[in-house]
């Protein structure tokens, strides 16, 4: 008995990641109850983002230019390799990192039928073969797939004489040893540093 036009809007909201029927319904009602201006702005924002945002031809991150602001302004000696665009935002919170990024758009994941050719490893190699790169920091997630991807890329890059590093794994700042899992603790021990 839901109106067809509302149902259609609910279906669109349901297509967003992690949104179920009830949540989508709340979103749809919020649009209908909101102002016309808001609905118009919403549309414009969607169209604008979809049509004008493309990929940086250097690092692959989202941008509305040919080369993203990070790639065009910074030195390309150090490349930090991440899984997704949102990881760039996270890494950028570290104020003293002044290198550039490379977005893989995924990790090697045999279970999900994702091999090395399905993510942007080829593009990373091409960047490095142009020369000038001294270090590649693997900042994929500290999970099985992230680790495997880091290892795979390290294996390819080492013969090229590039230093490949992996972000440190250990206990997170402000956390409690009591709740740390054994793998994390074991990594924290392995990576211990003299003080």
């Amino acid at each position: 008995m839901q109106e067809e036009k509302i149902e259609r809007l609910i279906e669109m909201f349901r297509s967003l990641p992690g949104v179920g029927y009830k949540t989508a319904q709340r979103y749809a009602y919020s649009i209908i109850e909101g102002s016309s201006d808001r609905a118009k702005n919403f549309c414009e924002a969607i169209t604008d983002a979809k049509n004008k945002i493309g990929f940086c031809k250097v690092c692959g991150n989202f941008t509305d230019k040919e080369v993203c602001p990070i790639c065009s302004k910074r030195e390309h000696k150090i490349i930090c390799v991440v899984k997704e665009p949102k990881d760039v935002i996270s890494m950028e919170k570290v104020k003293n990192y002044s290198g550039v990024y490379h977005v893989l758009f995924g990790t090697i994941s045999p279970l999900n039928n994702k091999g090395p050719d399905d993510i942007h490893i080829r593009e990373l190699l091409a960047r490095i073969q142009k020369g000038g790169v001294e270090e590649v920091i693997m900042a994929t997630n500290p999970d099985v797939e992230g680790d495997a991807t880091a290892m795979y890329i390290a294996k390819i890059l080492k013969p090229l004489g590039i230093k490949v590093s992996r972000i440190a794994q250990g206990v997170a700042m402000g956390s409690d040893l009591e709740y740390a899992d054994e793998v994390t603790l074991s990594r924290a021990l392995e990576g211990r540093r003299t003080i």
Copy 2:
């Protein structure tokens, strides 16, 4: 360092109820990574729902016609009064209810500065004064505000000779007495029926 156009889309998603920054970012990336068709459909769905959905001039529920399908097809002897349009959807799951609805768009809530004139009580009275209504079922939520609103409306309608009822409160089907709160149990006892 987030692109301005992405930031704008994230802000739009954040304006939806219960959406924080990270969730909005996920939604925005899902739009950018998705197909152009999807973005187009999304826009159309928003515009369509916002521009073509109005309020039923009888019950106040959302509809794209002057009078909603429920009001135009059913007998108007029994009116079920609910707080919001989504409650109509919930009540409609009860297959054997054949009356109509009245959407209040809120409940009396002094804490939120909402008095009887801020919700659609006047419209309900006007409907009843036209005659033909035998019973009004108060199906506002079983909370303080829902109860107060039900009481307030009952007090107005009783002098008009209308039967006013309230949906039963008690233990929910499939729930466990152990976890029922004392108010619910007290209501369940009060409302006990001979079997």
